[in-house]
Symmetry: C2
Subunit: 456 residues, 2 copies
């Protein structure tokens, strides 16, 4: 018997050719989006003003099990996928654990994260519909970068509203987007009515993700031939991201390994929802059991300390209402370097699975997360993104439990991206200037008390 | 017949287990290093004060054909290798060329370049010798990053002298090195006699690579248990980097493809020397013929406009003399964003091969290189390093010649690294603020006139 390789790559002909729709296996389906005016479920017609037609169909489809991946998207996937499933031999040795640790590494592409998996799909459907371009918002910049790469490939116009403070503090992300031909506008801007309004009311504001979403949506619905696209939270995004889990499952099968514990960081839920998709399918059907752990920052603990209710997806309240574990759309997470995990809510799919007890959740303060990140970098040679490092921290903790118990579990976690654009955070960590903000019960109660009245 | 895949990865058991020593096949061996005092060839004993013993043996060995790669190094290679050989289908389509274009992508590791291939070897031999640590210099930071990763793996101390202007302008590279536990000192420093002397003479200096080399060498020879290591130019480095070419050759063989043209950027020569090693071996033995092209920046054209002579490797003149194509050790290349290609000389091995007419050379001004880089990024999804983009530019030109001629050549080039830490350069390019400096004939003649008197 040969040893399991450090890295397992699928061959091209072994790559998944369909996405898996986890909703098809869920007994309790995720709650539908509601029209904030009528409080009725959003119809396809209503959603089509904002999103591409095919994506609307995917968003509303709780039944279809597999969606064939269009050939054009498969071709693009072949440029940067399959991503490797890596056996963390060096980390195991450093921890002296009997556990087997694997990670699915999604960072080996220029966007630096898994976001590209959905960006290329959304760009494809926009092109297929004959649109001129798409609009979106970006905070830290991963999603904006991924979308600009996808749009360059399909020769689509790409308008990104970047939170002004990030635009100024992260010029490198901005330049990557410009390299791919995207137009990047600091938000709030004079480009939209909502931007003008906010600037008039708060002349010195450095912007927020909620504001950037509102600008991007307004631009899409008021510009001929444009639609809005979003990088997380939505059902369609989790569908596209199922490529992560399908490849992971295929690679594990190829090397004859079965996961016991599956761990992923969770902000809006795109990574975790994609990683667990086929495994959760088996769990829902009773074919296999897995412990599945969502890891969130202690500064923005939507699953572990939020409430399950209908809420706005954006602060501007222009988007539909979604039922989710939420801290309230007015919750402003304290500064935290895992920008991709600073969302007040959680995808409806994951929220329902969590509410049904099918997923566990835990949270960590960021200093402990960076300690894990550094240990991982020195062992495995990859500098992880702060977001991904939440999953690393949890995987290390589980591996150390195995060591204490003397049990040989197989742990699989999602390494969503690299930290090359997060070195300001690493610098703070090295200089002992990093702080851990954790919201008080009173703060959370205050924010949650302002949920929309929809909830009976 | 199935189509050639986008990416070809070797299986672990197909990975090379020996390095190939190109010198063994050379009829005209590279000229030996000379002791600057006696002008006699440097002996192993003399070199051992500066370099590790095993590396000295490799440096001086012109005969051994294959060096088995120690298992510890093979294990480390498995963490980030094999690197993919990519078929540039999308670039071919964009260029509408009948040529087949392949690139060997060495950027998928945290150091962001091929430098790690030699860093881990040099760290291994230092550890094997029972040393406490190593010293080195770094300019832009790729080499320092690679070495700090390698030292973290073997638990060796790593002292990096970083050119002060880079230390201040590239804090991100510095932080990666700190993440891996290296100590990073801005050079010139008060840490060494040569540093103190330079600071006394030029209080406001922002440093230079030559000065940083001098500090690193002094620190190594004056500190118990330390040796100095270097990331390019030396024969030993080209030996380690042969892993690039061996993998490339194995992957081409696996898919049944033969290269016609092999292209690599050339600064000190580590990438090109490694990429071409097995191909040049076949060419030297008359088994196969290949066109091999070295690409350098027009601002620092050592092959295309330099002279073949003995010269100092550093500006401090503490290192041995090497015979090479050089612009003179006092040549200060004009500002250029391809920091890794700003060396005044070229490895002795490549210099000899070029002098023997076995390699061609060409040069490009940087604006044209960034145009190629952007085209490549938009086509292939990878943001290339400025250094690597020189090879891209040449590959595109050769592919366009194929289009004009209607010939179907197979072009292979080395994509040495990613440009994630070079976005200031991309920003200048996007803002049309990039300039092309090309030295005048007078400048070069002046610099070359100051070569050491050694040369008869």
């Amino acid at each position: 018997m040969s040893k399991i390789p450090y890295k397992t790559y699928l061959e091209e002909h072994e790559m998944p050719t369909s996405w898996y729709n986890i909703r098809s296996a869920m007994k309790n389906k995720p709650a539908p989006l509601l029209n904030p005016g009528t409080l009725e479920p959003m119809t396809a017609a209503e959603l089509s003003g904002v999103f591409c037609e095919d994506l609307v169909a995917q968003e509303l489809d709780n039944d279809t099990e597999y969606y064939p991946i269009p050939k054009e998207i498969q071709d693009f996937y072949k440029m940067y996928r399959p991503s490797p499933l890596v056996r963390a031999y060096c980390l195991e040795k450093k921890l002296d654990t009997p556990a087997k640790i694997y990670y699915k590494f999604e960072g080996n592409n220029t966007s630096g994260s898994h976001k590209l998996n959905s960006a290329i799909a959304q760009a494809y459907y926009a092109k297929k519909q004959g649109l001129k371009g798409v609009t979106t918002e970006t905070g830290a910049g991963q999603w904006g970068t991924a979308l600009s790469m996808a749009c360059a490939y399909f020769d689509l116009d790409c308008k990104v509203y970047m939170v002004k403070v990030s635009y100024e503090q992260k010029p490198f992300r901005r330049e990557v987007m410009r390299t791919y031909g995207a137009s990047v506008t600091p938000s709030p801007s004079m480009d939209t009515e909502v931007g003008k309004k906010i600037l008039a009311e708060h002349p010195g504001t450095t912007g927020s993700l909620g504001c950037a979403i509102s600008e991007a949506v307004e631009k899409a619905v008021t510009t001929e031939g444009y639609r809005y696209v979003l990088g997380s939270v939505l059902n369609q995004v989790l569908l596209h991201q199922s490529i992560i889990g399908l490849e992971t499952k295929a690679a594990l099968d190829k090397i004859g390994e079965k996961a016991d514990i599956i761990i992923g960081c969770a902000g809006g839920g795109s990574n975790l929802g994609g990683l667990i998709a086929p495994f959760m399918g088996e769990k829902l059907k009773g074919e296999n059991d897995y412990r599945i752990i969502a890891v969130e920052p202690a500064s923005c603990p939507s699953l572990t300390r939020g409430t399950y209710a209908y809420d706005f997806c954006d602060t501007g309240m222009v988007c539909p209402l979604a039922k989710m574990y939420t801290l309230g759309s007015g919750f402003i997470p304290a500064p935290n370097h895992a920008g991709g995990l600073r969302y007040h809510g959680m995808s409806s799919i994951l929220s329902q699975l969590y509410d049904d007890g099918l997923i566990e959740a835990t949270s960590y303060a960021q200093t402990s997360v960076f300690e894990a990140a550094e240990l991982f970098a020195r062992s495995e040679g990859i500098l992880p993104a702060p977001e991904s490092s939440h999953a690393i921290k949890c995987a290390i903790d589980e591996a150390l439990k195995c060591k204490a118990d003397g049990t040989e579990k197989t742990i699989v976690f999602g390494l969503t991206g690299t930290g090359y654009f997060d070195l300001v955070a690493y610098e703070q960590f090295h200089d002992n200037k990093m702080t851990d903000y954790i919201p008080t019960d009173e703060e959370l109660a205050e924010s949650i008390s302002k949920l929309p009245k929809t909830n009976k």
